[in-house]
Amino acid sequence: MTILGRADYGRGGESQEDNLDSASSGRHGTYGRYLLGRCLGSLGSLAFMLLLSFFLFRVLPGDPARTLGRGRFTTPEQLDEFKRTYGLDQPLPQQFLTFLQNTLSGDLGISLRYRVPVSDLILDRMWPTILLVGTSTILAGAIGIWLGVRGAWERGSKFDKVSTGGSLTLYSMPEWWLGLLFIAVFAVGWGPIPGLFPTGGLHSIDAEPGTISGVLDTIWHLFLPVLTLTLAYLADYALIMRSSLLDELGEDYLTTARAKGLRDVQVRNRHAVRNALLPTTTVVALSLGFVVTGAITIETVFSIPGLGLLATEALTVPDYWVLQGTFLVASFAVILANLAANLVYGLLDPRVRT
């Protein structure tokens, strides 16, 4: 479980030999080794993702040409032509090499629907997603950590009960359903509530980007989607922050800090929260990797032209190269975020540099 469990699954699992190793080589210089190990691990994941992607698109369908061009070809000649264009008549190992070469040089194929290179499409559609998910993550991180800290510090209080209950309910809710409710109430208007916000899109047709009114227009359009995603993420962060701060509460160093005569707020902010922030930071960093995944449903519901909407649109065509492109970008984002989370964790907490 990612939400209610501890963030650092692997840590307890690092084998003992590793610990002995790092002990003998001393404290200095171990971060370099840790860094190297983590980078190599990420390269391994990347290789696995490429292999998986190739398997999904070329091996699993049996006859890729038929699946890829479903409903598109009427004559066998057209099918042969299609196979030749995409190199599907080559033996599998050869195909894999070509695939590797193309992907690593940034060539992700041509979109069957838009007739432009997939890499251009993805670069174009990336910004709305980053804007949407980035803003929501920052907001959710700040509010969620505040809620979690206060809930854990005053555990059992009314505040704690309400915030934990609320977080659990939000966590159990499909975030796009919440988005639908928001649209129905605040965008369409319901009963006495007038429709205050647009039902979707990134900006009005007549808005000029770059001007102040254009920016305000985009903020107005993004208000509901950002609110929805923030609430969805916030639940995770609040629950994790709360549980990791509760883990710290029994520690001796807090008693020491109190014995030194520090005020309650100082004990909380300078000692307990600092340590409890470690797992939360990791979870926030990791969740950034699921940018594309998180955006898929919200972008569909609010029709924001980002990577997520690109993927669901490609689904109906079906536009295979776009699907493959978004899958690769999504995987790459997760691997990158994973690496970043590990590196930050290693920097903040020397104990994990094993």
Partner: protein, 304 residues
């Protein structure tokens, strides 16, 4: 001869007694968690409805051609929760949707639990290069973005319930595996296992008789939480139109509601009930899982 078999008999009875006591003790602790009990009651309700669906709401209510109501009729005495865009009773759809949600949730969890336990146990118990490789593989699967994968699989393999179950199962096992691995690593070093090894117990005996019984409670608590995630995932996939087109689930109801514009026409009875059902079931599984975790893992202790 007879005394030997008698002692074996009494040893078995003793073990049975002890197991029964442990169960009743755990049940007592579980009962003290009010939220867990409420979750269990709600789940029981949904399970009963799902099992008895054909009796409560005849399957004919699902067929578009036999629909009797008007298009998107608001709730009335005849249709308690109104009708959908094809004139079917929303309540009937909800009842049948419970079957799909619970089935997918449980089936995917079984897959995830079996793979996760096997890989976690093996990589934790055997260690060495085999364990290291399995650990790496687990890490690789951990970073697969499940929604894009599900979209790809549905496109490549076609849309079916089985595909959804496979996608959820395949992407959710790594968490379980890492949890089990960490547990196995600590149990492996305990003195009683050393004793078993000295007495000549082989790996299979050690795993079956000592490690598995100790790891199982964790698996159980984790499973309850996995079901919650699996049900959420199923709903999302169906909403995106990746579900089995021939079956009604809560997610596919919401997909229909969204695409016929129930939001702009204000047909709340088509949007709110399926979502509320999802939230209730997922929340209940989460609450039960949390309560179980506390019952079976006393280290987590009070205060949570």
């Amino acid at each position: 001869m007879s005394t030997a078999s008698a002692t074996r008999e009494s040893a078995r009875a003793l073990a049975r007694d002890r197991r029964r006591q442990a169960w009743s003790r755990n049940w007592r602790t579980f009962r003290s968690h009010r939220s867990g009990l409420i979750g269990l009651a709600i789940l029981t309700g949904f399970a009963v409805v799902a099992v008895l669906a054909p009796l409560i709401a005849p399957a004919e209510g699902l067929e578009v051609t036999k629909a009797t109501g008007g298009v998107l009729e608001p709730p009335s005495s005849e249709y308690w929760l109104g009708t959908d865009d094809k004139g079917r009773s929303v309540l009937t759809l909800l009842i049948w949707g419970a079957r799909i949600s619970l089935f997918v949730g449980l089936a995917a969890t079984v897959i995830s639990m079996v793979i996760g336990t096997l890989i976690g146990l093996t990589s934790g118990y055997f260690g060495g290069w085999a364990g290291a490789i399995l650990f790496r593989v687990t890490e690789w699967f951990l970073v697969i973005p499940f929604l894009p994968l599900a979209i790809v699989m549905a496109t490549v393999l076609g849309r079916s319930l089985l595909n959804i179950v496979i996608v959820i199962g395949v992407t959710s096992w790594p968490g379980t595996a890492l949890l089990i691995r960490a547990q196995t690593l600590t149990i492996r070093e305990r003195p009683y296992l050393e004793r078993a090894r000295v007495l000549g117990a082989g790996p299979s005996h050690q795993i079956r008789r000592h490690i598995l019984p100790n790891v199982m409670p964790m698996v159980f608590a984790n499973t309850t939480l996995t079901v919650a995630v699996a049900i959420l995932t199923e709903t999302t996939l169906s909403f995106l139109g990746l579900g089995d087109p021939t079956r009604v689930s809560w997610g596919s109801m919401l997909d229909d509601a969204f695409s016929v514009g129930a939001i702009t026409t204000g047909a709340w009875w088509f949007i709110v009930p399926p979502g509320v059902c999802v939230v209730l079931v997922v929340l209940s599984f989460t609450l039960v899982g949390q309560a179980l975790e506390e019952v079976l893992n006393p280290r987590l202790g009070a205060g949570r």
